[in-house]
């Protein structure tokens, strides 16, 4: 399923903070047909790129333009899951309440996601009591309750153990198969290989290489990507 939001065009985008260049200049057109993984070493600008795409990072120069701009159709999951000081069920209901969804529909949607992420038994507990993996699943489900076309994820499995990572990857694969486009930053190459359809390799605040994941993993064009995929330290 192709979202009407795409393509997303970044033209000469740069982000600077206190005079320091964080990313840019970046020119790219994002029109994915499957999950897009943004990879690169720490500090390469993956998070900032995702934030620019989602529209929550102020751009210092250039422009980021969706074909059909609709900010309600994309959602973001942060590296450290932000759980509200509310019960699990209230966390899930929150985005729907913001857009004045009828109560019956909220209940139906929340019940579906509680069941889907396995948190029904703790639905009335404070979300802050959940484990790291449960928090991240809650954050992903909360991002999905409004049925976005695009889901941005910033290293959602960082700091999680293997089992939690597997659960989240399974959930993400199901979401992607159901038609939600995933744009995800990760520095876990195994995860990138498992999930990626397209690959964006960032280095030093710039897009170094981009293309279909299968091709990029087997025959990287640049020395830097080849080294990064080998696990070498790339700066």
């Amino acid at each position: 399923m192709v979202s009407r939001l795409f393509p997303l065009t970044l033209q000469d985008v740069a982000v600077r903070r206190q005079g320091k260049r964080i990313i840019g200049p970046i020119d790219m057109v994002l029109d994915p047909s499957g999950p897009t993984m943004v990879i690169g070493p720490n500090g390469s600008g993956k998070t900032t790129l995702l934030r620019v795409m989602h529209g929550i990072e102020r751009i210092s120069a250039g422009s980021a333009t969706w074909a059909a701009p609709d900010s309600s159709k994309h959602a973001f999951v942060f590296q450290s899951p932000i759980v509200m000081r509310r019960s699990v069920v209230e966390n899930l209901a929150y985005p729907l309440r913001l857009v004045k969804t009828p109560a019956a529909q909220i209940k139906e949607t929340v019940d579906y996601w509680l069941d889907r992420i396995g948190l029904t038994p703790v639905q009335n507990s404070p979300a802050t009591r959940l484990s790291g993996g449960e928090r991240q699943k809650l954050a992903i489900a909360r991002a999905l309750v409004r049925k976005p076309d695009v889901l941005f994820l910033d290293e959602p499995c960082a700091n999680l153990d293997g089992r939690a990572t597997h659960e989240i990857e399974t959930l993400l694969q199901e979401i992607a198969e159901a038609g939600t486009h995933l744009v995800m930053a990760t520095h876990d190459m195994g995860q990138a290989r498992r999930l990626a359809h397209d690959l964006v390799f960032m280095l030093d605040g710039k897009i170094h290489e981009t293309g279909p994941a299968a091709t990029k993993f087997s025959t990287p064009e640049t020395q830097a990507l080849a080294a990064f995929l080998r696990g070498d330290i790339v700066t």
Binding site: F78, R85, S87, Y94, P95, L98
Partner: protein, 234 residues
Amino acid sequence: MVDIWEGLSAAFWLIVQFDTELWEISLRSLRVTLTALVIASVIAIPLGTYLAVQRFRYRRFTISLINALMGLPPVVVGLVVYILLSRSGPFGVLNLLFTPTAMIIAQVIIITPVIASIAHQSMRELWAEYHDLLISLNTSKWQRITTLVRDGRRNLLTAALAGFGRAIGEVGAIMIVGGNIDHVTRVLTTAIALETGKGDFALALGLGFVLIGLAIVVNLAIHTLSRTEREGQW
């Protein structure tokens, strides 16, 4: 030490004998303070939250000013309110001087900066926690403020209780604008000041203990009703 025991004894007998004047004064103290608290909270909590989420040109100055006003001398507040409400003042026509309403006005002025400042501090921390989420959900300014107030209500309760503590023990301003008139504007603190002036230390102390007891009871009641100590519950 003897005076303190006499004070405790006086407080005990005042309560046990169900002294009507004591109850009248205590209830007036509560009515004036709680009314001032509600009005001040309605002003200060949204103000503190707004200052946490909104960036504007004189924001730092506004925050500094509110923090500075926390130390507002009650006697000066009383004097200013007295001048404003006196017959020759701009609001003299309202005939509010030496009424409980004047005392409420003075208390609102004193405790609003206290509540706003503490509310701002706690809302600023919560805003830092929620910032990315609320921005990414494309929330309006109003939705951000209501979300922070709802989820930070425990901290806001602490801010309100700090205001209550300041108001219930206040004497300087309400003495000036209330006049300590028997059966009209006399409250616990002004009664204590009066009895101290008359040299009846035991009764003054007794009233003092009643005042402390009242403050503790109100704090406990608010904590119990709002279940602040229920472990793990928001």
